[in-house]
């Protein structure tokens, strides 16, 4: 196949671009790709976003994205597709986290080595959430104390776990 732009050189870059679910394919040569610049973002401006895209395994030049085959994965609230997210490295709204869901796990694992929040919980909206989080922390502390055979401390933690479990059941 020859390049769509110049029609002379062989097309060496095959690019699938998805904007708002609309699929466009490009088959062009390296020379024309360089000239088009912006159309093929990531060619010239190497930034944190490109790094993130790399982490997401979204490499438009070597791999056809999975979305081309099926319905694009997108956030139903703001409309951001997974492809758009992997290009910009930014979410569009808080619901993106829900709709893009499990596909984000590998990304979080690469960046943070983890997928589950362990820190602060909002006071007002947190309520029960906060208690459950505390419970989790106590349980892992219990395991640590048992492992290190500090049974007195373990017993103390066990009692706190019981009290907390009751509190959660009541609320």
């Amino acid at each position: 196949m020859n390049c769509e732009e110049c029609g002379k050189r062989p097309a060496t870059l095959h690019l699938t671009k998805i904007v708002n679910g609309e699929k466009t394919e490009y088959h062009i040569c390296e020379h024309c790709a360089q000239e088009k610049g912006d159309v093929f973002a990531g060619f010239h401006n190497f930034s944190i976003n490109n790094l993130l895209s790399g982490l997401l395994h979204f490499d438009p030049m070597t791999k056809k994205s999975q979305e081309t085959a099926q319905k694009p994965l997108r956030c139903e609230t703001c409309g951001l597709t997974y492809a758009q997210f992997s290009k910009s490295g930014r979410f569009g709204c808080s619901d993106c986290y829900t709709f893009l869901g499990d596909r984000l796990d590998p990304l979080f694992r690469r960046i943070h080595g983890n997928t589950q929040h362990m820190g602060k919980v909002p006071e007002r909206t947190g309520g029960q959430l906060k208690l459950r989080k505390e419970l989790e922390q106590l349980k892992s502390a219990l395991q640590r104390y048992v492992a290190s055979e500090e049974f007195e401390k373990a017993a103390e933690i066990r009692d706190r776990i019981r009290a907390l479990e009751q509190k959660i059941a009541q609320s």
Partner: protein
């Protein structure tokens, strides 16, 4: 309180040169990223949606609990000139992103400039606390209380599994980035710095230059911060950063003692040459200025130079930056004009002491 003072005065709380370990740690910064549940993130927000976020955040800044802390003044990016924004960046009160790329960006500044709350930066709300010296827990205490006040009045985007939801996946979870600005001339001179920087990357921390991501480590200043925000509690993130910074501080002290014992003449010569050049030079590039000021700071910390203060050196760090020089001059300056004004400013400030 006029908003002009934030651009005119070079003194922020962090520049006082006080605080624990201030011979090595210039400042401690903590920022907390938060978003509102019902609003699209800044990436997709329209002008009016972004304005609404500013309005909501500004309203909360006026509630009693917040006012008791410190009155906050709202400054909208749209109302500032490029030079004024640059000055705020150089004082570390706002980020380059807020200054240049934000849509309807704004900042709420406390009187002493130790708290700056950016609105419509990459996230809806970014609470920043900036303190002099090594004060990680103190910064967190201030930040988390402000966070609590906001949370009472605004509904945050929060998820049980992912924690606080942020625009960028690198901030999700706790949403906190804590950093300390370290002056490490002896580790650079004894060529141990690269070994240390490599080790740091392996423990979930990163090192940057003084103006954040992608900036060069000028004047032997290094900004050490946490990388991981998800899966660790705030306390663990802070104590991890604390203990690594603590070790670097001790190593720097050892290296300083080593230089004093083994190459005192060379060290003194370097420090006093720099001092002499700063006091008499007629033109100076910013790179040279930061290097020479680093030498003089080391001289001060080693007790070799007596007639300067940390506060003065921190002030010069900021006032010799291009934005500040031009803002003071009231006009755009060519690089040559800036070098001349920079040299004059340093000369005047040093000889006044």
């Amino acid at each position: 309180m006029s908003q002009q003072k934030f651009m005119q005065n070079p003194w922020s709380n962090w520049m006082k040169g006080e605080g624990p370990d201030s011979d090595i740690v210039i400042s401690t910064r903590l920022r907390i990223a938060r978003n509102l549940r019902q609003h699209p993130f800044p990436l997709l927000a329209t002008d009016s949606q972004a304005e609404e976020v500013v309005k909501k955040v500004a309203e909360v800044s006026k509630v009693e609990a917040m006012k008791n802390r410190s009155p906050l003044q709202l400054i909208q990016m749209d109302q500032l000139s490029p030079l004024e924004k640059r000055v705020l960046v150089e004082k570390h009160l706002i980020s380059p992103h807020l200054a240049e790329e934000s849509r309807k960006g704004a900042v709420l500044l406390s009187e002493d400039e130790s708290v700056s709350i950016m609105v419509n930066e990459e996230d809806h709300i970014r609470i920043q606390v900036l303190l002099p010296g090594f004060q990680l827990n103190e910064a967190w205490e201030i930040g988390t209380k402000i966070d609590d006040v906001f949370e009472k009045h605004l509904t945050y985007a929060f998820d049980e599994k992912r924690g606080y939801l942020t625009s960028c996946p690198t901030n999700v979870g706790t949403g906190i980035r804590a950093s300390v600005m370290l002056h490490l001339p002896a580790l650079v001179m004894t060529q141990q710095i690269n070994r240390i920087l490599q080790a740091i990357n392996q423990v979930g921390l990163v090192v940057r230059g003084i103006y954040g991501e992608g900036s060069e480590a000028l004047g032997n200043l290094f900004q050490l911060s946490n990388q991981v925000t998800l899966g660790m509690s705030e306390a663990d993130i802070l104590s991890n950063l604390y203990s690594v910074a603590r070790q670097i501080i001790e190593q720097e002290r050892v290296a300083r003692r080593y230089l004093m014992e083994h190459s005192r003449v060379d060290l003194e010569d370097r420090i006093f040459r720099s001092y002499g050049i700063l006091r008499y030079a007629r033109t100076m590039e910013s790179k040279e200025a930061s290097q020479r000021l680093s030498d003089v700071r080391l001289g001060l910390d080693l007790g070799l130079i007596k007639n300067v203060s940390h506060q003065l050196l921190n002030e010069l760090l900021v006032t010799t930056q291009p934005g500040f020089l031009q803002h003071r001059a009231g006009q755009k300056l060519t690089p040559e004009q800036r070098d001349e004004r920079r040299a004059r400013l340093i000369r005047e400030r040093l000889s006044a002491h």
